[in-house]
């Protein structure tokens, strides 16, 4: 189960269906700078090599019974899966809440409320994440759902802020041109403003993903699962091999998810921009 799950969360870097047929446009590859191309192609390699090295160590190291049970492959895959779930379920709610909220805060009279709402989201992020998660657990309940709620609130800010900034950055004459030729306000939003703001919004989503994958290690304190459990176990059992295993796996997962964010950012950029 585990291996295929990980693979399915990783889109292949070649999106042939999006590549243009004509010669005039080189597709998203043409928009890559040399630097970002290196980053984009190097990260999966680093993750693969890192994971292979870890797997080799895991198979060849002599572990005592405590380590053996803490680092059993089924446990590790289970935790990776929980971690990925925590990250993406929270990210889903972040997008579902922050993007419409951001849209709302750039329309008409609601514009005035934008600084207030961004301020609230800002203070949410400034609060220590452990505190936020534990507070929510005491208030609601322990477990996965509470962890998702806390993580979602924690990661709303970057997406909300980038949605607002992205929409504000759309050339107002284009919006007026859209209205001027008879598009409704909703149509201008969906067909002009959001596509043009999408790269900025996706940059916010990438930031949120990175925040989430790191913060999700804290979910273990309230029984939310994730790779934090391995770290936690290593610390309480005083086994360095277990602590380092947890740290390495979280780091690799974070790299992979950050890479995924980059890919999303790249493919979501509308052609012609």
């Amino acid at each position: 189960m585990g291996e295929s799950q990980l693979a399915s969360g990783t889109p292949t870097p070649t999106r042939g269906d999006r590549a243009p047929r004509g010669g005039s446009e080189r597709g998203w590859r043409g928009r890559l700078t040399a630097e970002s191309a290196i980053v984009l192609f190097a990260i999966p390699v680093i993750v693969l090599v890192g994971f292979a090295a870890y797997a080799i160590w895991h198979e060849t190291a002599t572990l005592d019974s405590v380590e053996e049970s803490a680092l059993a492959w089924p446990t590790i895959w289970q935790q990776i899966w929980e971690h990925v779930k925590l990250t993406f379920v929270s990210a889903f709610f972040v997008v579902v809440i922050a993007v419409p909220l951001g849209v709302l805060l750039t329309r008409g009279r609601a514009r005035a409320a934008a600084p207030i709402v961004v301020g609230i989201a800002n203070s949410g992020q400034a609060a220590p994440s452990v505190g936020l998660i534990v507070l929510f657990a005491m208030w609601i309940d322990f477990g996965f759902s509470t962890a998702v709620i806390a993580l979602t609130l924690y990661a709303i800010l970057p997406v909300l802020r980038n949605t607002i900034v992205g929409l504000q950055g759309v050339d107002p004459t284009l919006v007026e041109a859209g209205r001027g030729v008879g598009m409704s306000a909703a149509s201008v939003l969906v067909r002009v403003e959001l596509p043009l703001a999408l790269p900025v919004i996706m940059a916010g989503v990438r930031t949120a993903l990175v925040l989430l994958v790191g913060t999700a290690t804290l979910a273990t304190f309230i029984n939310g699962g994730g790779l934090g459990a391995t770290l936690q176990a290593g610390i309480s059992l005083l086994r360095y091999s277990v602590i380092v295993s947890g740290a390495v796996l979280v780091a690799l997962l974070a790299l992979l998810i950050e890479w995924l964010g980059r890919v999303l950012e790249l493919v979501s950029r509308p052609r012609g921009v």
């Binding site: 004509g22 005039s24 446009e25 004459t173 284009l174 007026e176 041109a177 859209g178 209205r179 001027g180 030729v181 008879g182 598009m183 409704s184 149509s187 067909r191 002009v192 596509p195 043009l196 509308p270 052609r271 012609g272 921009v273």
Partner: protein, 420 residues
């Protein structure tokens, strides 16, 4: 003094003009007052734009010309007053519905950068629910109308086009659903002077075919003189300073404001009133692409010409080489784009183009870039001399006929200007 005000109508070209497809626009006592501002932005503007004409709105910045324009498609809602297009009150229908029946062309084209040229043009037809096949056909038709090769340009993105090409697509988008009324807001403000002149010529040529009602805002009085059947000069608060044909405004500005605005060189501006089509054209030797070079040289020498105009199979001039430049066995299209003058271009444009041309002349084209002939300095100066003489004599008549001392005074001044 308004004897010249029917310039366009009685020209020989009037016969081959298209059917009027525009509708009359009528503004009645339209007021726009912004909250918190003492003076109204538009203070009781009343105006009739006749069907099928181009009316240019000019005035100093902040005079309310753009506000007035945007009230016609309800991008700005008037505080009071009424606006009719044809016999329809525009406040009687939904604003989005209304705008789909009014073309809107903005500075720089304002194309959507994430949509191809074809999708940009197809926006309004799509909103109106046309079938895909009809839309595709219409897109190609419009691209041809604005002189862009559909096969080459329809799938491009705006950033892959030059400023002039973007503006052409902007005009095509405005025309897409064949609206009776087109509003233009500084349409050619963002392009270089030579491109602007070409786009203006093209617009005139399109208008000759389509006869829309066009209301166009500009800050450039020369553009207004060139394009406008009528010019509306506005003062602060969109108060009408003068609304008349270019000739009438140049010949007799209503007041000092108009005189100042039109500018001191108003006799020079007369150059913008005369079209190439009024000047006699030379017809030098022409050659077809693919013809034998020797044959063409022989023909040119027999005519006493030192250069030939090369035409493609659509009669479009593509090159204007000297005889010594003719090399190879057959004639081929020139390497560089030949800058042609539309026969509706003004003498002002003609002088501009000639100065940048080694032949001291320019190739003149008619509708759809068809070759008409060649204009040179001698022809233009001859034409200007006879024009000037006519003008002087009519002015003398006017001065004699005028009984109002104030009028007489003004005519004296313009006559002096003309003489100096």
């Amino acid at each position: 003094m308004t004897a010249t005000s029917t310039r366009r109508a009685d020209e020989p070209q009037a016969g081959d003009q298209g059917q009027i497809s525009g509708a009359e626009i009528r503004l009645e006592n339209v007021v726009k007052r912004y909250p918190g501002q003492q003076a109204a932005a538009v203070d009781g503007l009343s105006l009739v734009v006749p069907a099928g004409e181009i009316v240019m709105l000019v005035g100093p910045s902040g005079c309310g010309k753009t506000t007035s324009l945007k009230m016609i498609n309800r991008l700005i809602e008037p505080t009071s007053g009424s606006i009719h297009i044809g016999d329809q009150d525009i406040s009687g229908q939904g604003a989005d519905q209304l705008r789909r029946t009014i073309g809107y062309v903005i500075q720089g084209g304002s194309l959507f950068p994430h949509m191809t040229v074809a999708r940009n043009i197809a926006i309004v037809p799509k909103l109106l629910g046309w079938e895909a096949g009809r839309i595709a056909e219409r897109v190609d038709e419009l691209l041809e109308l604005v002189n862009l090769d559909p096969a080459k340009y329809r799938d491009r993105y705006p950033r892959e086009l030059s400023g002039g090409q973007q503006q052409r697509v902007g005009v095509a988008r405005g025309l897409a659903a064949d609206p009776p009324v087109i509003l233009m807001d500084e349409p050619f403000g963002a392009v270089d002077p030579i491109t602007r002149q070409r786009l203006q010529d093209e617009l005139l040529s399109i208008q000759r075919e389509l006869r829309k009602t066009i209301v166009c805002v500009t800050h450039d009085i020369d553009e207004a003189i060139k394009l406008g059947d009528r010019i509306l000069i506005l003062q602060e608060g969109a108060r009408v300073a003068q609304y008349d044909t270019a000739e009438a405004i140049l010949a007799s500005p209503a007041d000092d404001f108009v005189a100042d605005f039109v500018g001191a060189g108003s006799s020079l501006k007369q150059l913008s009133l005369s079209r190439i089509s009024e000047v006699e054209l030379r017809r030098p030797t022409t050659a077809r692409i693919g013809e034998s070079t020797i044959e063409v040289k022989r023909r040119a020498e027999a005519n006493g010409d030192t250069a030939v105009v090369v035409l493609d199979r659509h009669d479009k001039p593509t090159a204007w080489p000297w005889l010594r430049q003719l090399k190879g066995e057959t004639i081929h299209a020139g390497a560089e784009d030949l800058i042609n003058l539309d026969h509706r271009a003004t003498l002002n444009d003609a002088l501009d183009t000639m100065l940048t041309n080694s032949h001291g002349g320019a190739v003149v084209t008619g509708d759809r870039d068809r070759y008409l002939g060649v204009v040179d300095f001698v022809a233009v100066t001859d034409f200007m001399r006879t024009q000037q003489e006519e003008l002087e004599s009519t002015r003398r008549d006017q001065v004699l006929a005028s009984s109002d001392p104030q009028d007489e005074h003004r005519d004296d001044i313009t006559a002096d200007d003309g003489a100096s």
